[in-house]
Amino acid sequence: MKKLFINIITVLILFTAAALEQGHSQTGKEQEVLVPYMEFKYLKNTDNQRILEAKVSLPGDLGLEPIEGLTVKFFTNMDNPVPMGEAITDSKGIAKYIIPDDYAIPVDEEGYWWFYAESEADDKYDISMAEVTVRDVTLDMALNEGEEGKKVILKAYTIVDGEKVPVSDEDIFVYVPRMFSLLPVAEGYFIDGVAEVEFPEDVPGDDEGNITVIGRFNDHWQYGNVEQRVATKWGIPASHEVAETHRTLWTQIAPRWMIVTLTIMLAGVWGHYVFAIISMVRIKRTTKKMK
């Protein structure tokens, strides 16, 4: 009995010690520094503005959760990185840096620009970094509507050793903006710097048919994101107005279905009442007859 008691006490002490050790190791644990994830993009927009866009987020249970308020620094020149500027991530975790027009971006031996972004570390987050290499391309877009239908004419060239070199053997997509993203509506192929793309006839626009046509190298392996936008009336006019309806309750006369329904119901009910009353009258008459 005594031995059993000692065994129980020993087991209890061991459990308690193990629990205390676990608790101690948990409380003594230093706060873990989180490692963010960075997406880095180069965009040349329709105004020929060059934009560096870094999105910093943290992998979470619900996917990538953006981190707001982090400082991201942007660099160029791979051999000897030169700081270009910095930006702070917004609520979507995006830090944007617009490269000034007069900024002379160093070109490497093969004619590529190199960009590098790095988010600053703090008590909570470790640094995150990403780089992108692109070749500058000039993209022009014109819309042509003739007997052969609607065509998007795209022209693109790069500068190599001070000379224009037309883009060839590259795909390009034509998009229209929809509610959440860009919808690809047609695909083209560059031959000698020109791509002719047929624009479909059945793309809905606004109520007047206005639509924005976008020719875009989208995440291109060589050019990054380069786009041109033109607003036109090539869309099918789509009315988004909800037809005006009047609540029939406000009309002078009730809807016919309502009058009919109510009449049938009331006639049915009151008919039975009348039957019950007639039955009572007949009971009374029966007595009189008996007397």
Partner: protein, 440 residues
Amino acid sequence: MEIRNKSLLKDFTSEIVTTSRKWYLLFGFFVIIWALGVYALVLQIDKGHVVTGMRDNVVWGVYIVNFIFFMGLSYAGALISGVLHLFKSPWRAPVIRFAELITVISLCVGPFFIFFCIGRLDRLPFLFAYPRIQSPITWDVIAICTDLIGCFIFLYLSLIEDFAILRDTKDISFKPWKRKLYEVLALGYQGTEKQYKLLSRAKNIMAAMIIAIAIIVYSVLAWIFGVTLQPGWHSTIFGPYFVIAAVFSGTGLLIILMQIFRKIYRLEKYITKKHFVNVGVLLLIIAAFYGYFTFSDYLTKWYGSVKMDKLLIDKLFEDYYFLFIFANYLGILIPIIIVGIPKFRNIRNIVIAAVIALLGLWINRYIIVVPTLETPFLPIQDYRPDFIKYSPTWVEWALTAAGVAVFGIFMMLVSKIAPLVSISEMKSTENNKITLTPEV
């Protein structure tokens, strides 16, 4: 028509012939409360609705809650009495008259609360003079009037046989005016085969009609809320939800009245534990349905996360937390537990369950009406606390109590003229003990 079982007749008619001290005490108590209500009403008419808690936003307060509540009791009474009659439940006899009386008396009391709500009572006749068929208020007026008449006819039909028995009873000395009254009200009914057939057919038809009318009429009342776009009210299940809730409250009241009048009129021999358990089981089943509808209604509103619905539900779980829990959890679960577990199933506990159900239902009505009106689409312009949050005043409570008192007064007055346990129903269920013999 005479009844052979004299002791039975004596038991049922004792309060018609003599008046006990208990009766006077209870009646006096109700009259005092009613008088207080009259004073409150005079004050309200004199000073205006400023003496109530109702303001620009919450224009429907306790009065409307009482209106819905009383109408619910009425429709429940109609449903229960109609179903018991049609399906010839063997235990219905001591219960059915209570259900019929609840129907008619609640229907007489309920609409008065609408009048208390109206600021310009002088415009009330316009509702009848210029009715608009497409207005839910007009539907309600038509429905209540139709229901009231139907329920009166059904009650009267079920009383004819009893009046005939009382008219022909020689052993009990009624006052002359009362015997004369029975003569008139009995319509000369002698219990002949033809008369019995006529009466039975009329009763069966009216029983079926009042079930249908009760469902439609209470649905109409629910639609007054449901057809508006107000948060919390705009719901397609409000019709059946209200009907189930009404039956729930009516069953609760039936149990309470059975107990009160059982004690006052010493009807323990006729209203037994079996009757309480049977009505209690009905309460349990309806509580389950009612709980299901309540959950379904709030779940869809919460999941939809429409801005206004969300605001309303937040308000219910913050400002009205305890009322919400009582009405929608305790008010449903306690009756289910008490009646559901055989160990707890005795008369006292079933009555407690009924009281909780009835209270829970009243509070449920309150949290349907008031929080919605405190959550308007447009911001409340006046920031005085009584504009933002409704709080009933003593005037409203006094008139509420007066409504309950009037219900009691009517019930007690009826008990002085008609037996509260239907003798004719007892005849059909206990045919071996009581026999009616036609005189002619």
